[in-house]
Amino acid sequence: MSKLHLFLTLIPLLPFLCTSFSPENPSSRRVLVLFDDLALKSSHSLYFKSLQSRGFELDFKLSDDPKIGLQRYGQYLYDGLILFCPTTERFGGSIDLTAILDFVDSGHDLIVAADTNASDLIREISTECGVDFDEDPAALVTDHTKYAVSETDGDHTLLAGDDFIESNVILGSKKIEAPVLFQGIGHSLSPTNNLVLKVLSASPSAYSANPNSKLSNPPSLTGSAISLVSILQARNNARILISGSLSMFSNRFFRSGVRKAGSPTKYEKSGNEQFLTELSKWVFHERGHLKAVNVQHHKAGEANEPAMYRINDDLEYSVEIFEWSGRSWEPFVADDVQVQFYMMSPYVLKTLSTDKKGHYFTAFKVPDVYGVFQFKLEYQRLGYTSLSLSKQIPVRPYRHNEYERFIPAAYPYYGAAFSMMAGFFMFTAVHLFNK
């Protein structure tokens, strides 16, 4: 009875529950959080609290709960998925590797935290995202020169990472001063995947190995090739965050002070909270999600969009671009938005001028080649969702009566013809009536 009741109350909500990030209804989003132990809910609560305070509805479940599912009746129940279950070998319910990949393929966001002894399932999910964790299950990222000084941790696996990606859109405009504490496993990025990016890399002296066994062969992961935290933005703008440490999300690391070995500055609070909160803003599209609207083009001096252009016409092109700020669409300010006039290859590629209020415009002359062209706006910037607009427009040559008349160079021909005609008229009169 109670289930039926629940179901009935859910029915009117269904349309709101099941979308990925959509420009129409971007707020109030549901996120499924899967744990392998519910104690994580309390020990990592600061992270969840920051999400909840930003309006996310978190649904905490055990990863082997038989009732969990990502979709029902073909509709997705959640907009995001957080996997804090590094040891889970199999999910309960209908969730499996394919279900998660489908979830991402339909544009939903994913956060994965692995840890030592990460299960094959978590590794497989990461591999699908272009992230290869160290194969040795006991390996930890160790760094003997750039570790976080601690009275009680002696094996230098607690790293103080400060090698961040340089991107304001991913990490926020405020610089992260304090190093980020990290303890876990390292990964490398698949060279064939060019969408995945290192957000936090290890220092050149780091290596990934089991701290309790002697090294006889060089470790597979060394130096700054080790990525500690990586992100991926899929072509459908689904965003994924993969971290090799679950404890970096924990309250303990959030609150803990940090001092990097060899540096005299002691920070009262580690950079974890800022780093991960800002990253979660990016992952859940509160930053760097662009939309382009109101694409207009017309001949110079006119207001309406023509059905086709003639070669050598002067045209004006404009577009408005907005960025989602978490609550509203704000004008997007940049100076590197470019438009292409494209047929097989770009004939014109021009950087748009902007009024700093989200309006981008430019003017150029249609090339003297006719055919079916496209206005193409391909905007791919680090951290931003890619904009890809194209609008087809044919370009025709001059009509026969649009060419130039009364060319001076042709005056001798005109003169010859008309003097001939005048002569003919005179001749007819003279010939007929001469006596």
């Binding site: 941790d153 303890q183 060394t222 910037r381 007929l432």
Partner: protein, 692 residues
């Protein structure tokens, strides 16, 4: 469930790795600041009295002074709840609890009314929660006022009816028609029964107390255990709604147990290490992130702090990383769970062994000195036998007073991993190029690994590169670091890493380029050499550029492996592209206007010549018909010709072909007609002239 547990184990493991295995720190200032953060009232009051109680109780236990002042608003809702006749036992219970801390002004009569209401509930109660809240409230009323009669007449009967809900394994049911038993309920039942005992007007039947003690022992058989010695209760049934996590279940049992132990005479037969294990469980959680968990943790620890079963003593070390170079002292603290000082005791360092090899102790058993000022037990100087390395120290707490042994539990020996670090001396570092067959030294450079070096070497594939250095510990022993890598990086960013091995007392690596040419992809050129020496116990781990070696390797044969594709900068595909502008076709070259005009003049010349010719020959129009009709036709004929020519001009200027042809059709017909008339007239006049 097992997987579930595994996850928690992992978490604890993760925590324990950083906090050094099985070290539990008592409650400290970080808890206090976290408490102030967690229990922040929204606009001057908490959402419910329960939350207010949790906050007040936590502040009370932690002794936080600068707490937010909520007494006015809370007192108001307390008196409202107590006065209202519609408030539930649950509401009353929490209101009384808040009142116990805040001591609001409540009239005696109100307590009187509540007490009689509660007694009625107790007497016809049938569910455990009814009993729990009503008895708990009565106990609170008894504590807060002396003038109200709260004693239960039929305490034995009530005791029995609560006991009737218990199960054979020590757990309880929530009510008689709910078959599922729960550990959480057992805790509530124990607390309620403790209340019954304290409220009883006459002594409770002794046999009831004895059976209940047995139940408690049985309940403790269901304890779950972690590797680090902490134990906890977990609910067996996992129901979405009423499921309590391990923390709230354990804290419920601890509350019930301590409450019960404090009201009965005689002890409960529970082993001390289980109580210590429970304390370790609560401390091992660290700082919980939600207020409920935080309250449960702190409240349970407060219960354990002063319970009558055993008071756990926690041995903790402020630092487990000791520097041999800085002559750090080994310090040990013994506190109760809330961090208050322990009874007089001594800490003995029983053994110490190198972690991984459990065979022999490296030191003799000794007692640590006590510094009463800081309440720290310490070891002055680390013994000579302790060199840098990772050790496991085994401590034992010895209580001075034999009476204390009945009160406190210390958990026997405690194993603590200790990292002894120090500065490792790096000597005799040198890099050399050797001739392959003879082994004679071609070039040799001394290195100082304390700073960056820039040795310049060159070698070909028939030679060898040798790098060697020596590491000695502060105690003068030979040291083997965990990380000793030599990295060669070619200009094209191809890297090769080698582990530097040790032969005897010397670290040495010999790179025989002849065997390595294939691995180096036959890439000649400049290689950067980098040496990394590091270890957890080495305070001066280094990452040093050693220099460069110019390698001259043979040409790659055809089937040689290709070097990996050069790394493409992943950011290159972002960034704006270069602008493209279309290059328009240039218009054809035209003659200057003057030239065209000159030629125009030239083309007009024949016409002018024609006119001059006409004048020269003296042309006339004398043949023009004189009579009216032919003259009209002649004029019309010439107008027609002029019209056709004008039509051509118009065609040139603006008309299209179709209009022109149409008009030309009409004009042509007209011209035919008038032309025929005038020509036939002219022909007839000339024939007449000839015949005449």
């Amino acid at each position: 469930m097992a997987k579930n547990l595994g996850g928690f184990l992992l978490l604890v493991l993760a925590i324990s790795i950083c906090e050094a295995a099985s070290i539990f720190q008592p409650i400290s200032d970080s808890h206090r600041s976290a408490a102030l953060e967690l229990f922040t009232p929204a606009d001057e009051s908490f959402g419910s009295l329960e939350e207010a109680y949790e906050a007040l109780r936590t502040f009370e236990i932690l002794g936080i002074q600068g707490k937010p002042d909520i007494s006015t608003s809370s007192c108001q809702s307390v008196s409202e709840t107590l006065v209202s006749s519609s408030s539930t036992t649950n509401g009353l219970f929490h209101a009384l609890k808040v009142n116990r801390i805040l001591k609001c002004k409540i009239d005696e009569e109100i307590f009187q009314g509540i007490a009689s209401r509660l007694k009625a509930v107790v007497n016809d109660g049938n569910s455990l929660l009814d009993f729990y809240y009503s008895i708990g409230s009565l106990v609170l009323v008894k504590d807060q006022t002396s003038g109200v009669d709260v004693l239960l007449g039929d305490a034995n009967g009530i005791f029995r009816s609560i006991k009737a809900l218990s199960q054979s394994d020590g757990r309880w049911r929530f009510s008689s028609n709910n078959p599922e038993s729960s550990t959480y309920a057992a805790g509530l039942a124990l607390e309620a029964l403790a209340g019954v005992v304290s409220l009883a007007s006459s002594d409770i039947d002794h046999s009831l107390i004895v059976t209940l003690k047995n139940d408690i022992v049985k309940l403790f058989d269901s304890l779950e255990k972690y590797d680090d010695g902490s134990v906890y209760f977990d609910e067996k049934l996992v129901d979405a709604h009423e499921h309590q996590g391990p923390l709230s279940t354990t804290s419920s049992v601890v509350r019930g147990l301590t409450a019960f132990a404090s009201v009965i005479s005689g002890s409960i037969n529970l082993p001390g290490d289980k109580i210590l294990g429970l304390a370790k469980f609560f401390l091992g959680i660290g700082i919980p992130g939600n207020s409920k968990d935080f309250f449960n943790q702190i409240d349970s620890l407060a219960c354990l702090e002063s319970n009558r079963v055993y008071v756990p003593l926690i041995l903790s070390l402020p630092a487990t990383v000791l520097s041999l170079t800085k002559k750090d002292q080994l310090k040990v603290k013994v506190n109760t769970v809330l961090g208050s000082s322990a009874p007089p005791l001594a800490v003995k360092l029983v053994r110490a062994f190198i972690s991984g090899s459990k065979d022999s102790s490296v030191i003799k058993t000794q007692e640590l000195k006590f510094d009463p000022e800081n309440a720290v037990h310490f070891l002055d100087v680390l013994p000579k036998s302790i060199d840098v390395g990772t050790y496991v120290f085994v401590f034992e707490i010895v209580l001075h007073d034999s009476v204390d042994k009945e009160v406190y539990t210390t958990g026997g020996q405690t194993q603590v991993p200790i990292f002894v670090t120090g500065i490792i001396k790096i000597d005799n570092a040198e890099i050399a190029v050797l001739d392959s067959d003879l082994g004679s030294i071609e070039t040799q450079t001394k290195l100082d690994l304390a700073r960056e070096n820039a040795a310049l070497l060159s070698a070909n594939h028939l030679q060898k590169l040798r790098l060697s250095f020596q590491l000695t510990t502060p105690r003068g022993k030979f040291f083997k670091p965990h990380q000793a890598f030599l990295k060669l990086r070619h200009e094209t960013k191809v890297e090769h890493i080698f582990v530097v091995g040790n032969s005897g007392k010397q670290f040495e690596i010999i790179l025989d380029f002849l065997g390595l040419v294939e691995k180096f992809f036959y890439l000649s050129g400049r290689y950067d050499i980098q040496l990394t020496v590091g270890d957890a116990i080495m305070e001066n781990s280094v990452l040093r550029a050693v220099g460069h070696v110019e390698l001259d390797l043979p040409e790659a044969p055809e089937k040689a492996p290709q070097p990996p594709a050069p790394h493409v900068d992943p950011y290159s595909r972002y960034g704006p592209k270069a602008e493209i502008t279309h290059i328009f076709r240039t218009p054809e070259k035209r003659p200057p206007r003057e030239l065209s005009l000159a030629f125009l003049g030239l083309t007009l010349l024949p016409f002018v010549g024609f006119l001059i010719g006409l004048l020269h020959f003296g042309v006339n129009l004398k043949n023009f018909p004189t009579s009216a009709v032919p003259a009209t036709f002649a004029i019309l004929f010439h107008i027609g010709i002029a019209a056709v020519l004008l039509l051509y001009v118009l065609f040139w200027l603006k008309l299209d072909l179709f209009t022109t042809l149409k008009t030309l059709g009409f004009l042509g017909a007209f011209l035919m007609f008038v032309g025929h008339r005038i020509l036939s007239h002219l022909a007839s006049t000339s024939a007449k002239l000839k015949s005449a």
